[in-house]
Amino acid sequence: MKAAVIVFPGSNCDRDVQVSIEQSTGKPCAMIWHKETELPELDLIVIPGGFSYGDYLRSGAIAAHSPIMREVKARTDSGVAVLGICNGFHVLTETQLLPGILMRNAGLKFICRDVDLRVETTSSVFTQNYAKDQVIRIPIAHNDGNYFTDPDTLKMLEDEDRVAFRYCDAQGGINEAGNPNGSMSSIAGILNRRRNILGMMPHPERLADQLLGGIDGRPMFDGLVEALVA
């Protein structure tokens, strides 16, 4: 698998996800500056977490207009996998590669902690190595993770099996107690229709190393490597 991470001014989880990818591929993962207009041949593009452009205006709004995003869009059209984590999810909604928006957390505070997620679909290159309804522990770290969309879009996401992860309690129950940020329908991550784009607020790269306290994020990267062997 050939992977690259896009770096915007203010990205700060770029190195973290690079480490996780390299751990699974055993190969170098390229870093691409946002001002570039071309991408090398790739199987996976990651838009990392952080505070692109300081989250000024709206999280991800300015980065969505970076030159590289035109090329990212073109690649997704040709089927290349794109993973947007946290601020990367913001960028994907701002470019309308994914529907909906991410509002300020319901509690109006930044939240950094491990949360439980229920795997809602295994039918994607990102989630194939998990079991359906499996509860995994992945950290969140964001101000703006409160997913919102209109009822028709929500119904479409559900009908098309495009909700990848939901926040849940330790037993896998979907309820208010397990929802850290007020997201509609407890949504933590969604897929596009073609299922080659995943946007998610939690950080799978943060728990992919036992020394850091868990490895529930690792199957995502291992699964991508298996699915995208080039």
């Binding site: 203010g10 190195r15 952080g50 452009y53 000024y56 505070k109 939240i111 950094c112």
Partner: protein
Amino acid sequence: MSKITPEIVKEHGLTEDEYDKVLEIMGREPNITELGIFSVMWSEHCSYKSSKKWLKTLHTEEPWVICGPGENAGIVDIGDGQAAIFKMESHNHPSFIEPFQGAATGVGGIMRDIFTMGARPVANMNALRFGRPDHPKTKHLVNGVVAGIGSYGNCMGVPTVGGECEFDTSYDGNILVNAMTVGVADTEKIFYSAAAGEGYPLVYVGSRTGRDGIHGATMASAEFDDDTDEKRPTVQVGDPFTEKLVLEACLELMATDAIIGIQDMGAAGLTCSTFEMASKGGVGVEMDLDLVPKRAADMTAYELMLSESQERMVMVLKPGREEEARKIFEKWELNFAVVGRLTDTGRLVLKMGGEIVGDLPIDPLAEASPEYDRPWVATSKPAILDAADVPAPNDPCAALKRMIGSPNFAQKRWIWDQYDHMVMGDTVQRPGGDSAVVRVHGTPKGLAITTDCTPRYCYADPFEGGKQVVAEAWRNITAVGAKPLAITDCLNFGNPERPEIMGQFVGCIEGMGEACRTLEFPVVSGNVSFYNETRGEGIRPTPTIGGIGVLTDVAKAVSCAFSAADEDIVLIGETNGHLGRSAYLAEIEGRDEGAPPPVDLAIERRNGDAVRGMIDDGLVSACHDLSDGGVFVALAEMAMAGDMGAAIDAPDTGIALHAWLFGEDQARYLVTSRDAKTVLAKAAEAGVPASIIGRTGSDRLTVGQSLSISVSELKSAHEDWMPNFMSAP
């Protein structure tokens, strides 16, 4: 030119004697810009005029120290050609006036100090002290400070991995916000601030200069009064996004060899940074203020020189390397301006509009900075409080529950949830333990980091308190298995012009110095914050210590959480049941009496070295140092962290039970082990008292036959206080 009146001199915080010295150095009356420069350079904040004499007595050298006090931060060798660069700094006054921006810019400033020296910041810590919880301002200040710290560190992508938070009425009018940053650099790639090279370009990078924060350093060198709120305009506004860009651009440029010297602009901005660079390098500087990037076109020389706008750096480049550097800063969308040249005149010459607007001699100004031997009186030694004079509680479990649910013991998750503590992917031990542990990226090594202070002890007996502060930091680093390397100190005190306050300062420094020498735990950086007083009421003496240690194999680090059932719990160190100035006495009896526990540094060292050896040998599954609240609180903390109880044998020591449970004798640890026999043998070999006091298991913490409390009951008391407090109307 405007005449400098005695009123103007006074407004600038200079005494008559100091102004006479200004006239002598200048050989004429200074203009207003020059007077402003003297004022900030000689402010307590920049000149350390009251503390210098005593700071010189601290222990600052050990073979692993690469750079001690005097630079932007301290540097220690962590092996394999790598160095840890770290410092703690106060931002107390601004945080009280405007908590969000005050705290945020404190964090921004300390990170700049670290990356100025070539290190990538890898961890932030903070030690916070607020007034009593029911003081009308406390909640507002907690909210603002925590949000401000989070906003800056989170955006920078540097994890905030731990710290401390205490509430005490002595901070009602002067909160303490002490922020620490640790960075890692290659020993071959460390940058210093000294300027050198006649004609070499002086370069300004980062944010534009605005009118914010003018005279911040002077503000931080005076007491608060009723007009404190009017000082809000002296607080700077932070832009962490720009600082993230400055960080990346600086590190990118530092990978080349274009930089001669570099200095961040902190307190007193352009003035302090150019003076320091020039003074250290023994050169002069000619600067054209027209070239300084500005936010407002009509800024005066006075404003430009004294602005404390954030996210700015100044550097001296090798000649001919300007374009290479410019390209890097432009890539990161930052200002870059050659604003001057180095000269051989030994003077700082400022030009604006083609005219000279300031001309000051550098060395005389720096060297003649006042140094005071302030009168001081030693704090009288309090009498030792006999444990027999402290009534036993009816129900020690209820007392324990009350203590761990009290503001100072309650879990601070409400705070650290707002800090990204995992970014950078190397946080091995998260907030809440004895020390935070971060892996040194790409290596098997780890750094253990802690901040500590027990103002209760320092107030009662500054000397013993000063010793204890250093000893506790050393112990916290030892408790995770790391070798303690060095400390940074952030010395928060009241008005040094009062002899009793100066006496507290002198006592603490002497105690710290002794502990640093015996524990081989030198001070490599720090800062002093005086005038933490409002209307004549000083804070408790609060010499906060930030300590770091190194683990050669980070996988060997242990935490304080009980990790398995049926393990023996071993108490290491000698227990005498010292209740004077204890948390028990304060929280349960509401008394603040007696002498603090004495610290025997030789025993501290012997016990700690033995514990570290046991951890390194893999004998220990959990370890916790004993401090506030003694054995019982430590057991509760281990139980809550591991979600597992323990059965403790009723002690048979001749010490009253409550003194045994809550006494704060120093140099002690609790460890758990599957092989207690070997632990006891190792302890005996080292001459360290050790005994098995119980076993892990069940969901209750019990002592003997009669005392029992469930871990979940303890947890709810411990976890609920802070969120309830903050959400209450």
